[in-house]
């Protein structure tokens, strides 16, 4: 593509990463007292807060009740100050409705909803700073929040975006790379079984490259899952020290 060189001849990207290198992931669980589960996650410069309420009785329209499993209700919003240009509507536009829908689908696949019939689980995610990979950061943050709420899941859900430049897959795209006309693929993975909870791809890519790209995305997701696992373990250790066990 014209303009930016996304991958230098030496194999470095704009922000100095290698092709398969992830951005630094930092996370904390249990950031709010009021919520049943909450988490804060930074992936490079993208920052997200996730809050989980539930499982609780159905609120709002009761007609949505499912008799055999829980309803998952997601809301994705972006803080007005999250992008370079101030956002007018933090949520409710087409793109964020779509994002909420995707989050919902991802967690419907991962959470053991059949354990909570006739109830509802709310997942609210807010992007505080947006620097690419919004969807994957939201999924990762929400996973931690769901774990913090103690809701059983089949496995961690880890998501990652992967781009394809010069026949090389780039893991965890940042904003500049996403905007640079790269064909990008977002994938949410349950790492243990290698199951894909959500797959989404934009822009053109030859069929033959799909496999390499998916392979790269899955490796990246597994990397994320390791970090998340560490965070959860550390959090549990801290909590158990506090409660004196």
């Amino acid at each position: 593509m014209a303009g930016l060189e996304l991958l230098s001849d030496q194999g470095y990207r704009i922000d100095g990463r290698k092709a398969t290198e992830l951005r630094k992931v930092q996370a904390r669980m249990g950031v709010f007292a009021q919520a049943d589960g909450s988490a804060y996650l930074e992936q490079g410069n993208t920052k997200a807060l996730a809050v989980v309420y539930g499982p609780h009785e159905m609120r709002g329209s009761r007609s949505r009740t499912l008799h055999d499993r829980a309803v998952i209700n997601c809301q994705y919003s972006m803080a007005t100050f999250s992008t370079a240009e101030r956002k007018r509507r933090p949520h409710g536009d087409r793109k964020s409705t779509e994002m909420s829908l995707h989050l919902k689908q991802t967690f419907e696949a991962a959470v053991m909803t059949q354990l909570y019939p006739r109830s509802q689980i709310d997942i609210y995610v807010k992007i505080l700073q947006s620097d690419g990979g919004n969807y994957s950061v939201c999924v990762n943050a929400a996973t931690l929040a769901v774990i913090d709420a103690g809701i059983p899941m089949r496995d961690y859900v880890c998501a990652c975006t992967v781009g394809f430049v010069d026949e090389t897959p780039l893991a965890d795209l940042c904003y500049a790379e996403e905007g640079g006309g790269v064909s990008s693929l977002a994938l949410a993975l349950l790492p243990r079984g290698g199951q894909i909870a959500l797959l989404q791809m934009d822009a053109r890519l030859h069929q033959d490259h799909l496999e390499t790209l998916m392979e790269a995305a899955m490796t990246a997701c597994k990397g994320v899952s390791k970090v998340l696992d560490e965070v959860v373990r550390q959090h549990l250790q801290e909590v158990s020290v506090l409660t004196g066990e």
Binding site: E98, G194, Q207, M218
Partner: protein, 431 residues
């Protein structure tokens, strides 16, 4: 109005049929329904029939000021209208989840894949560009709206011609079609979406699900491709777990389907062009034989029907005569009613739970219990004459489980386990 829910019987039937690799309309697993493409009188108007799903696309254009960050690019706008005309489940006015999903998917399929040269739509940089608007109306919903919409949209875009413009200094003139021939859009490639539905947690896969199949599916995977085997978008939805191999297989199937559909579209466009050039009759009204617009119009059934009468006759001849006597309903336990003819019930969802309750009993005892139950049942069958119940009064009888209560206490006594077994079977029947 909310959609009428699908009956459990129908759901089971559909799933069973899918397991046996059969489909309601006689298609094979990877078959598309019949696609029919017709054009309206205007440029950029297109109707697509995908089986009974019917979609209309209309392309229009106007001159607008471009977006600030893209001063010399035309604007593409897609809008999918789910009118209540197509299905009672669609509501007027409100943006439903489905419509958002379809809209975004179509945008992703056609805009993000950059199949249309938007820079050629620029008239005056930073001031005037063409906005191309694609309106898609669902006319009849019989499943797989996305594929029908994507075919309709891309065909209509190919068919569309915008008026020519001329610039003299500051002045921009839009020429009417009589003065200068309108110009077709420049389109690089033809992305077409192919939908795959998954059943039974991804064990079974069908291409082009019809409405009934969509109701029972677990999830959907939409792959948009062009005939050069370039994937333009992928979207999974519906909370299923996919494996990488499944995605790869779907992409292979999609590439075959896309090349077939592309051929069909090109042919349809050519035919229309010829008809227009020859000055013959064309357009929507001409594409339908007279008096055949109504729902009474029947297409050929895809199922082989030639020797149905003979085969049916043969079957009837060979079949044994049904027994004249209707077996009287058998009751395993006195004091309860039942529906059906005393066959094993298949509702046993809760069987496991009940079994677990008795876990503390030894295995032998359980076995003994079972045989006892069977013996008892046989006995009842023999003397069925005196325990026949009239099913009218079943409601009251079913709930009474009195013999159970006094015998709850001692568990290991042989007689009580027998009683319990009876109670258990009673419960099973009520469920």
């Amino acid at each position: 109005m909310k959609d009428t829910p699908l009956a459990n019987c129908e759901r089971d039937f559909l799933l069973k049929a899918i397991e046996e690799k059969k489909r309601l309309d006689g298609r094979q697993t990877y078959d598309y329904r019949k696609i029919k493409i017709t054009f309206g009188t205007d440029y950029g108007c297109c109707f697509v029939d995908l089986g009974k799903t019917r979609v209309m696309a209309q392309v229009s254009c106007e001159i607008v000021t471009p977006k600030e960050n893209r001063p010399n690019e035309g604007i593409m706008f897609f809008n999918i209208e789910l009118s209540p005309m197509a299905s009672p489940a669609f509501e007027q006015g409100r943006q439903s989840e489905l419509s958002v999903n379809l809209n975004r998917q179509l945008e992703r399929c056609l805009r993000n894949s950059k199949c249309i040269d938007t820079e050629s739509l620029c008239v005056v940089s930073g001031e005037k560009v063409w906005q191309i608007r694609v309106d898609i109306h669902m006319l009849n919903h019989d499943g797989n709206l996305m594929d029908a919409a994507s075919i309709a949209a891309i065909t209509a875009l190919y068919h569309f011609k915008r008026p020519d413009v001329g610039i003299q200094g500051e002045e921009v003139t839009v020429y009417p079609p009589e003065e200068r021939d309108p110009i077709p859009l420049s389109i690089y490639h033809m992305p077409i979406s192919v939908s795959f539905s998954f059943f039974q947690q991804g064990t079974y896969l069908l291409v082009d699900p019809c409405e009934r199949e969509e109701r029972v599916m677990d999830g959907l995977l939409m792959i948009a491709m062009n005939k050069h085997r370039e994937i333009c978008s992928i979207q999974s939805s519906g909370g299923i777990m996919l494996l990488k191999e499944q995605v790869m297989r779907c992409s292979k199937i999609a590439s075959v389907k896309v090349s077939e559909i592309t051929e069909l579209i090109t042919k349809a466009l050519e035919n229309d062009k010829k008809a227009r050039k020859a000055g013959g009759r064309f357009g929507f009204a001409e594409s339908m034989p007279q008096e055949r617009i109504t729902a009474l119009k029947k297409d050929e059934t895809p199922v082989e029907m030639t020797d149905v009468t003979e085969t049916a006759y043969d079957i009837v001849q060979k079949a044994e005569a049904p027994p004249q006597t209707v077996p009287s309903p058998v009751l395993p336990v006195p004091g309860m009613g039942q529906v059906g003819l005393g066959l094993q019930n298949s509702w046993g969802l809760e069987d496991d739970e009940e079994e677990e309750e008795e876990d503390d009993d030894s295995v032998e005892e359980q076995e003994e219990k079972v045989t006892k139950m069977e013996v008892e049942q046989h006995r009842k069958e023999q003397s069925s004459g005196d325990v026949v119940e009239i099913s009218d009064s079943e409601e009251e009888e079913v709930i009474i489980l009195q013999p159970e209560i006094p015998n709850r206490g001692p568990k290991n006594a042989g007689s009580s386990s027998d009683q319990k077994g009876a109670a258990k079977s009673k419960k099973r029947q009520t469920k």
